[in-house]
């Protein structure tokens, strides 16, 4: 019975959009909860991936390749963002080992 059901039903675009929304929510929660800058960065990656999934699902649904091109650009910008962000985190943590996001409330070095 279950096997028949699994074979018969194909996931629609809505499934992917809902999964993207859930993933975005988890990433947002993590970004607000965690205070380790590295983990906060990973949560941003989660949110970017949620948006990518939404883009691809709708691009396939609408038959428009523009959505996949947008995902390509998101990936490039995410790579650049990770490089710059981790550079900033390294230069902060080298000066203050073990700093959390709460310790970095002011710009004074």
């Amino acid at each position: 019975m279950t096997a028949v059901l699994l074979a018969a039903v194909a996931p629609t675009t809505t499934y992917y959009l809902v999964l993207g929304a859930v993933l975005f929510g988890i990433g947002a929660t993590g970004l607000l909860v965690r205070r380790n800058p590295l983990i906060m960065f990973m949560c941003i990656e989660l949110m970017l991936n949620a948006v990518n999934l939404t883009f691809v699902a709708l691009a396939v649904r609408f038959g428009d390749i523009d959505g996949q091109t947008a995902v390509f650009f998101v990936m490039v910008v995410a790579a650049a963002e990770v490089v710059v962000g981790l550079g900033i985190i390294i230069s902060i943590l080298r000066r203050r080992p073990g700093a959390t996001a709460d310790d970095l409330a002011e710009l004074k070095g």
Binding site: A7, V9, P11, T14, L17, V18, L19, A21, V22, L23, G25, I26, G27, A28, T29, L32, V33, R34, R35, N36, L38, I39, F41, M42, C43, E45, L46, N49, N52, L53, V56, L58, A59, V60, R61, F62, G63, I65, D66, Q68, T69, F72, F73, M75, V76, V77, A79, E81, V82, V83, V84, L86, G87, I88, I89, I90, S91, L93, G98, D102
Partner: protein, 173 residues
């Protein structure tokens, strides 16, 4: 079969995402992130976006997570942190409310707008067609944006080298 793949990949994605935000050790969080990224890549394959699936594995799992792990090891922060410390007591419940609220609102909007998502012409089911269609779109309609990303990458790399350089004179700044 497709539904089975969807469910398995979704379990990977959600379990990895919870691993990122709940594990106290940053190394475990980074490895959970790999699980999520692989799950998203499986979804891309299921949606017949083959090129993006490959790029997802190569760029995200191969480069970005490795960079994360490299920084974790370089800074020596691969110790489990104490998650029971909570400087603002109301922060976690509020964050959970915000996360559930954002997800709930977006899901409600999706369910409401479900019927307006009309199907367009299907993209090519063949893997080669996906790549050639993407390439044609990228290098004709979006060629300026493509060139600007190269500038962006060069600026990012040069900026990072400048940012993380140790000051030879040993001054404070």
């Amino acid at each position: 079969m497709q539904l089975l793949v969807f469910i398995l990949a979704s379990v990977m994605v959600v379990a990895g995402a919870f691993g990122v935000i709940l594990r106290s050790n940053p190394v475990h969080a980074a490895l959970s992130l790999v699980l999520t990224l692989f799950g998203v890549a499986v979804h891309f394959v299921a949606l017949e976006a083959h090129f993006l699936a490959a790029v997802q594995i190569i760029v995200y799992a191969g480069a970005i997570v490795v960079l994360f792990l490299f920084v974790i090891m370089l800074l020596g922060v691969d110790k489990a942190e104490d998650l029971s410390v909570e400087p603002f007591p109301i922060q976690r419940p509020l964050a959970a409310v915000v996360g559930v609220g954002v997800s709930g609102l977006v899901i409600a909007a999706i369910v409401r707008a479900r019927d307006t998502i009309v199907a367009g012409e299907p993209l090519g089911a063949d893997g080669d067609q996906n790549i050639s269609a993407l390439a044609r779109n990228l290098f004709s309609d979006h060629v300026f944006a493509f060139e600007f990303t190269s500038i962006l990458l060069i600026v990012a790399v040069a900026g990072t080298v400048l940012l993380t350089r140790k000051d030879k004179k040993g001054s404070e700044s």
